[in-house]
Subunit: 417 residues, 2 copies
C-alpha cells in the first residue's frame, strides 16, 4: 500500500506544516497553501512571489475570504473535494481574484481535515507530479493528526495546570514555576484573573472563540484558561511584557467592557477581574476576587456598573463580611427598624427616601429629582426621618452606619430571595 520511500520526498517527519509547504513548493515548483476544514490558513509557501489576490487575502487574513469560500461552495468545488480522493483542478473565478488551482482534500479516516491548494503558476502538472501532490496531501494529513494530538495534549496539560492553580494545589511558588517550565509556559510577572459569565454553558467552540477575541484585543493575552459551566476563567497578562501596568489596566478594562456589552463580536456577558497579582500561589484568592466582582455586579448592578477590577468595588467588597456579621448579631439598626415600622403603618417611603438621599451624596436637589418629588417634600421627609429615626443627617458616622446597614440588608434579602 505505501509508496516506496525513494520515490516519495514527503515520507519524512516534518517540523511543521510550514516546512511541508516549503518542501511541496520546492518539489513541485508552485505556491502552496494548506488550510484546515474551516478554511483557516494553516501554512503556506513563502518563497514564490507569484500569487493571486485570493491567496494574498487568505494569507493576510489568516483565512480564506468569505466571498471566495462562497464562490467555491456555489460552484460545487468544496463538495467535489470532499467526495474525491484525487486532486481536482479548480477553474479560475475572476470576480473574487481566484486564478485556477490544483486542490485536494487532506483526509484522515474518512474525515476531511483540511485542504491543500497549489497555484499552477504558468505550467500544468503531469501525472507523476499529481501523484507527488497526492503524497503531499497524505503527509499533510499525517502532520495535522500529529499536531492536533500534540496540541490537545499541551492544551490538556495547561488546562490541568490552570485548575491546579485555581484550586491552590501547589502550596508554594517554587513548584508552580517548575511545572510552568515543564509545560514550556512563561509565567508573566503581573497578571489578573478574569471571569466571563455567559448565559449558558460554555462549550469548547465558544471558549475558543472567546480566547480568539481576547487575543485579538492586541493588549490582553490569555495566559491560561479554564471553563466552569457558564464561566470562562482566564488568567490574563499584558500582551507586551514590558508594558506599563496602568496603561494595560485601562486597555484591558476597556476591552472587557466592550466584550461585556457584546460589542466584541459576541453576546453580552458579565465580566469581572481580580486585582493584579504577582504570586501564583495566590491564584485561588484572585479567582475569588473576580467572582466577587461578578456577584457584586449581580446584586448591585447600577452601583457597580463601571466596576471591573476587584479593587474598583470599593467598600462593596466588604459587604459580605458586614452582612455576615450583621446576621450573627441579635439586634437590628434601631433607626431603620423604626423607619420601616413607620413606613409599614403609614404606607410611607421614609426608608427609600433615606436610601436615595444617602445614595445621592446627601444632595437634596438630585435626590428630590431622583425621587420625582418636590425638594420641599424631600426636606419635609428628611425632617421626619431625623425625628422618627433619631438620626442626625449631618453626621458622617451615622450616615455611613445607615448606608452600610441598608446595603447589607439589601445584600441579605437578595441573597435569600
Amino acid at each position: 500500500m505505501t509508496e516506496p520511500t525513494e520515490n516519495n520526498p514527503f515520507a519524512q517527519s516534518f517540523d511543521s506544516l510550514e516546512t511541508l509547504a516549503e518542501t511541496i513548493n520546492e518539489v513541485l515548483g508552485c505556491p502552496v497553501t494548506i488550510e484546515d476544514a474551516g478554511h483557516r490558513l494553516l501554512a503556506y509557501s513563502a518563497h514564490d512571489p507569484h500569487t493571486d489576490s485570493a491567496r494574498l487575502a487568505t494569507i493576510v487574513g489568516r483565512r480564506v475570504p468569505e466571498n471566495v469560500i462562497a464562490s467555491l461552495r456555489r460552484d460545487g468545488v468544496i463538495q467535489r473535494l470532499a467526495d474525491s480522493l484525487e486532486p481536482i483542478r479548480v477553474p479560475a473565478i475572476d470576480e473574487v481574484g481566484f486564478s485556477g488551482r490544483l486542490a485536494i482534500a487532506i483526509r484522515h479516516k474518512d474525515a476531511v481535515l483540511g485542504y491543500l491548494w497549489l497555484l499552477e503558476s504558468g505550467k500544468t502538472l503531469g501525472g507523476r507530479e499529481l501523484a507527488l501532490f497526492k503524497q503531499a496531501a497524505r503527509a499533510a494529513a499525517d502532520k495535522m493528526v500529529r499536531l492536533q494530538s500534540a496540541r490537545r495534549k499541551s492544551r490538556e496539560g495547561l488546562r490541568d495546570f490552570m485548575w491546579m492553580l485555581l484550586h491552590g494545589q501547589f502550596g508554594s511558588e517554587a513548584p508552580i514555576r517548575d511545572k510552568a517550565e515543564q509545560l514550556g509556559l512563561a509565567l508573566p510577572a503581573e497578571w489578573h484573573v478574569v471571569v466571563v459569565q455567559a448565559a449558558g454553558a460554555i462549550d469548547e467552540r465558544a471558549e475558543q472563540r472567546l480566547l480568539d477575541r481576547v487575543s485579538a484585543s492586541r493588549s490582553v493575552r490569555p495566559v491560561l484558561h479554564a471553563v466552569d459551566r457558564a464561566q470562562a476563567i482566564l488568567l490574563c497578562a499584558p500582551q507586551l511584557a514590558g508594558a506599563d501596568r496602568r496603561a494595560y489596566a485601562r486597555e484591558a478594562q476597556a476591552f472587557f467592557a466592550r466584550l461585556a456589552r457584546g460589542e466584541e463580536d459576541g453576546v453580552p456577558a458579565a465580566v469581572g477581574s481580580s486585582a493584579f497579582g504577582q504570586s501564583y500561589a495566590e491564584t485561588p484568592a484572585r479567582h475569588r476576587e473576580a467572582l466577587a466582582v461578578l456577584q457584586t455586579k449581580r446584586l448591585f448592578p447600577r452601583e457597580t456598573e463601571r466596576a471591573f477590577y476587584y479593587p474598583d468595588l470599593g467598600y462593596y467588597r466588604f459587604l459580605p463580611a458586614i452582612a455576615a456579621q450583621s446576621r450573627a448579631e441579635v439586634f437590628r439598626n434601631e433607626s431603620l427598624v423604626r423607619l420601616r415600622a413607620y413606613d409599614r403603618e403609614h404606607d410611607a417611603n421614609l426608608l427609600s427616601t433615606l436610601a436615595t438621599f444617602l445614595a445621592h451624596d446627601s444632595n437634596a436637589k438630585t435626590a428630590a429629582e431622583a425621587l420625582h418629588v418636590h425638594s420641599n417634600t424631600l426636606s419635609y421627609r428628611l425632617k421626619r426621618i431625623a425625628e422618627i429615626g433619631g438620626i442626625d443627617l449631618t453626621d458622617m458616622d451615622q450616615k455611613v452606619s445607615l448606608y452600610l446597614a441598608l446595603k447589607a440588608e439589601r445584600l441579605a434579602t437578595d441573597q435569600k430571595g
Copy 2:
C-alpha cells in the same frame, strides 16, 4: 465552758441577725443594734420606739454616722471595745445625739466581727442581764460566722456560674436555667453585659465598691459579676423587672456614663456594654460585644465618645472585619496611595484634609474651621485631592470607600503600634 441551755435564751439557731436582735430586745427590754466591724448596720430591734438620734441616723443610713464614729474613736470607746471581752458602758455624747449605751464587741477567734449595742432606756442592767448580754454577743458572733460562710459559698457559686456563662460552658439554655434555679438566682428576661475597665487590677474591695455603686443607681441591678484583672464584668438588668427597656437603657447609659467620668464616687474608668440579650447561651457573644466597645473607644475615642451599647458603635463594629480583609488583600486603595505619596513628596496635607472633610460630613465650612484654613484653601485642596486621587467627592460610594479605608488604616496602624 458552755453555759447551761436552760439559762441561755440565745443558745438556739436564729433565722437571721434580725431575729436575734428582736430576741435580745425581748429578753433585756432595750433597743438593740448589731453592726459589723466597719460600723455598717447589720440588724436592729424594731419593736421599741424609744431611741436617740444617733441610732435613728444609723438605721436610716444603714451605717453609723461618721461623726458618731469619730467621737467614739476619739473617746477611746472603739479601742476599749476591741480590748475587752466584757460589756462596756459607754457614756452619752450629746453633740452627736448619742445617749449612753451598753456595748460589747462581737468576737470570733480574736477577731472583732462587729459590735452589739444596747440602749439602756431608763433602766440599768444588772449582773445577770450583763451575762445574758454577753451570751447574746456570742450568739451574734456565731450567726455572723455562719452567715459569712454561707455568703462566701453563695458568692463563689455565683462567680463560678458567671465564668461558666462567659466561657459558654453550658451549650444550651436549659442547663443554664437549671443551674440558676439551683443557685436560687432569678434570671431576668432581658439583660446586658457591662465591662468596666479600671486603671489597675481590681481587688475584692474595689469590686464590692463598684457593685454597691451600681446597686445604688436605683435602676441598674448587677445580676452576676466577675473580675478579670483590671476589668469588672457585670451582667446587668433593670432593677424593676417590668420596666420599659428603652427607659432602662437610657438610665443605665446615663449612670455608666457618670461612672466612666468618675462622677459616681470613684475614679474615671472606661465602660462598655453589649446589646441586650435574652438567651443566656449567648453570654460569650455579649461579653465580646462589651469588649469591642471598650476596644473601639480606645482606638477612636473622639468618634465613639458617646457610645456605650455595642449597637451604638454603628459601622465601627465592622472595622475589625474590614481591616482584617484589607490586610489579606494584596492591593491598597489607589487614591489613598497616591495622596499619601503626594503628601510625602510635597510635604502637603491632602490625606488629613480629605479625612477631616469626610469626617465633617463634606461640610466645607466646618471642615475648614477644624483645619484652621480658609474655606477657599480647603476648596482648592479638595480640587487637588479629586485630581490626584482620581476621586469624585460628590459620589457617596467613593466617599464611603475612602472613609472606611482611612478608618481601617488607622485601626491597623494603631493596633500594630
